[in-house]
Symmetry: D2
Subunit: 358 residues, 4 copies
């Protein structure tokens, strides 16, 4: 609840962009997981601002410190606390937004909900909070890797530029080779051009991140409210700027007939497989051993470099001016966040499933 | 967790289609809510099979009994238990599916997860479980109505037939007047024709249910993992056959520019409003007082009246034959379920929000 | 929370003494547990009123029905719902207590907390609610028995009559042979005489139930807040009329020196054992393989057959008169409740512990 | 669960005595609470080692840092993260205990549960973890003080020296004036002499901490499993070295008759009061507006300055020698911990109670 995610393998995140630091407590990680700090650093690096011309030029040093829960390179079964300090905290002038509500941000709703608001940098609604999730997700990935599970997300759409290829036609090893994190060179080029143009127009656009989890054991997922895809959807929809989630055939599947959509079972060696995978690897809310596949829609970034109509905290009309360094499109940096949240769900459900049978 | 949904206002459902009964425990309902049993009956009636030619002809008597938690017509603050007995339990012949895995059902995954399976009627993955949700959702609606919140869902797509009108152009009072639960007469007619034709072809199709919640107070939603739309998405994705969820601008919003997508604030009397509502009534995960709006995608029903390739529990090839009485399209009956899950989330978050300020 | 107990293996109870019925949802029970209905009936029988001259003469038929979660004699991994119907519901005259607050009952606090109150028979604070716990506890015992865990509670004190023997000197098979549920014949006789005399004086007395769990695997218990004894204490203190909990050396251990109190380790075959067991089988909150041992204090029953000073709902002075059939001492019937709550904690922690290591 | 305590107002603690630091995340604290850092420092000071001749001479600098959740001196409704860094981390020689199980410590059980163990200083079972609880408890106290609730704990027994006076005869303002934290000068002197003598004998003794909460609103507590005293008991039993909990009349009340034990209601002005308070301020699990009163038993500290019989990780016989600086009696330093855990329960239940009525 609130700032905790998960049931057995959980993360609790804390921190704003402008306090002393932010971080994550990973609780419920079994003892014996090899904790590779370089891997955590790499993951944070993928989310970091300032990576390329199509991301924000803001600099954040995501230096992290593990305060607890790891001994001699292994998890001990106790809470793993990771802190990321805020270094870029110089007392800036926030007077231009302190008492104004930025359109399509959380300013107004936080103000109303809590009565008090840390107006510096968006507080908890700042995308910087996702650094804590990526650190926690890295621990989940390390756990999953010991069970042969791998997760690959990539940008499949930026604005109207959509990668039409099925994920099975893609080479995931190429995702990190492009600054937009799309493994298809042609599509990547078009996306980058579009984002760059949008940036020059002082505007922003949305995009879609697709994600594939492979090697997931059969049986993960709880029958009714906590179906595996419901947990994945919850996780994805909790990421800043996300507006939609679909898995397997998704919204397109609506138009299909049952006779086309059903995934026929067949046997391959000692395994039961399906001939198609419209189910996206999940049937009745439970993983069936096929690839898990889903798509996540991100809206255009709300901060634009233009003047916008708004009101202030007194209810008077006000103009919000664009200022600062922001992403023209959030999806390239969202890729590791999507993977992290996916890893957190799978790690949690892997442990939950240990109590399904006697 | 598992068979419980919610944080403060919760439901726990139990029961399969072929045990003695199923039901719901509503826990955390504040004392003092007027409990109108006729309203609960009406809601169950909307979900019931056998309503029209485009739903399954199966008969289920959803007679319910409130065992506890209500005294002299008011909730007492203690758990409200509602039981719906299974009447249609004659010992049918299930030998045709007892040891076969129906394609795109939960048969295989349940078998693998639990090692044992109640093969009669799908067990917990049966859509009959949703009757318990509708009963619980009715309690949530009764609570919400005391706060001026109303919820309207309707069918906005069946197969390729899509209602293009914005919800503000619709008259929700007409939804129940059509058997497909689409408030637009023309679209309804086309949808009904398509579903009926599909049924005659012994096939099934998917659809979309849209939902609008009005009068929702500002401030509902938790900042990070439990954003209001993440809880709504989780709730919707937990409904049988759901493949996708989007709110506000959704997947289409991806193509928009920030300058088009942002919802400008302005003042109207003593209220702060937004000129557009691409946010779908939720900003930073918190309700902003505008209408909450979302769409839910349902796949074509997996049970079709045709022979299908599959395997049995020994892993041998097997043919699954269509048999029995099933829905050709799930969305008409899904409308009250979507509303119920929406009501449960809003009731829960209304109570959660009571502890946001001192 | 609220009416749910447990983390992974949970029970949710519902119902008052005067609605249509009460019951329990057991959620999280692994698939494959043999569910013996006769055993559940036996357990309920042990808690039932009217067993002997030293319990209330009130008759309750605890006929129960399993509505779901069991198929062909085995748990299926889905929620097990058990309903116990209230049969003795004739419309009695409650006018003598409807608007008065009985001393040391929950009447006043419920009235203040909820604003509305089901005054018939105490509502949720009625000891009848514990029947639902015993039904749920029976499922937990059935699970534990498959792991070799056994639980024995007994009455070790009634009023000032205290059984001084250590549990290792007792023959638990004799507990059910006495109406007071004390396995020592001499002590039992004295306790029965005292309770009977107290009853004749229209008064009540308190008592202590001791409990021993044997065969508990090493490793159950969570390090900090959910230490095994904290969960056991929580469970016991949630039983009606309980005023205290101690385990191992308990309050008496306070007077000991560390050099006396510490339990020296030694090896016996391939097992590590302790020479003494002041730890009560739990060290650092985690079971160490020795017998788990604790004691639970019950206050004298609040309902006495005497006139008592009180106030009514308007705040005016009022006399509450003793009326009806009540227990002169609660401990004989509390024995199966203590065992049930102990079983529920151990079953839950057994499953929780499955995720302690990779 | 696991390292989180509470339902709505929660703390999650992390950290061992020998990692980089430990700390607490306070989640669910409403916005608008005045956060006084000096008060947090004072509270930590009361728990700190090295305060007097009867506590351990070990030095720990409990310098803390608030990383998030506070803005301009007020809570913002977002998680408050407090980190306490470990300064005294010089690489000591732990070879004398690294592979031995100290009697009545958590060494053996952690080793068995997790397979891996941070042997330096006891890991999570170290009493140092309680510093995080005191920091979190300080926030809870600050919240409660805005509602007029005050909490006073004190040492009421050390070894066999027992303060016989009722709490109403004591002047709580004198508690901090004695190094043993007993507000009665005579008893304090005797306790100090006993503890000092025990320390000189290289041994340890146990004790009892009593606690009184005043000004608690009527209505806190949930009816069945989460009765207020069950939550308090859980909280207290989660503190290191605690062996028992009783409230109101406690274990002594067992010997009383109902006619003596019942607390008669009467009216005083516009308040309903009880003539006696054997209920300890809680009836039916819900606060009734009287003082809440409970007692907590602590065992003698397990670390003694003597040689003890044990085994090592290979199962071989081994001698554990006393070494280092340890408390001869834990209760003086336990007083602020008991208060903290009490404050955390009350703050949580205060918020929970906000959803009891419409």
């Amino acid at each position: 609840m609130r700032n905790t995610f998960g049931n057995v393998f959980t993360i609790t995140t804390f921190g704003e962009s402008h306090g002393k630091g932010l971080g994550v407590i990973v609780d419920g990680c079994p003892a014996g997981v090899t904790i590779d700090e370089r891997f955590i650093a790499q993951e944070l690096q993928r989310r970091k601002p300032g990576q390329s011309k199509i991301t924000t030029q803001r600099k954040e040093e995501d230096a992290f410190e593990i305060l607890s829960g790891v001994f001699e390179g292994k998890s001990t079964g106790t809470p793993i606390a990771i802190v990321i300090y805020n270094t870029d905290q110089k007392s800036k002038d926030y007077s231009h937004i302190a008492d104004k509500f930025r359109p399509s941000h959380a300013d107004f709703t936080y103000h109303e909900k809590f009565g008090v608001r840390d107006y510096r940098g968006g507080g908890r609604s700042s995308a910087r909070e996702t650094a804590a999730r990526v650190a926690g997700g890295a621990i989940a990935k390390l756990l999953l890797s010991q069970y042969g599970v791998s997760i690959h997300a990539y940008v499949s759409q930026a604005g109207h530029i959509r990668l039409e290829k099925h994920y099975s036609e893609l080479d995931f090893s190429r995702t990190e080779g492009t600054i937009v994190r799309c493994p298809d060179a042609d599509a990547a080029e078009q996306m980058i051009a579009l984002i760059d143009e949008t940036r020059k127009n002082r505007d922003t656009i949305g995009g879609v991140v697709s994600c594939v989890a492979q090697g997931v054991p059969i049986g993960l997922g709880e029958p009714v409210f906590d179906r595996l895809h419901a947990a994945l959807g919850h996780a994805m929809l909790s990421i800043n700027a996300v507006k939609g989630f679909e898995y397997g055939s998704g919204f397109e599947g609506v138009k299909m007939k049952g006779s086309e959509h059903n995934d026929a079972f067949y046997r391959e060696g000692d395994k039961i497989k399906t001939r198609t995978n419209h189910s996206g690897g999940i049937q009745g809310g439970i993983s069936n051993g096929e690839d898990i596949y889903f798509r996540v829609a991100f809206k255009p970034v709300a901060t634009i470099m233009q003047d916008q109509e708004s009101v202030d905290t007194r209810g008077d009309s006000a103009i919000v001016s664009g200022k600062g360094r922001h992403d023209p499109c959030v999806v390239p940096r969202a890729v590791p966040i999507v993977e992290s949240m996916c890893a957190l769900v799978l790690a949690d459900y892997l442990l939950l499933n240990r109590s399904s049978k006697i």
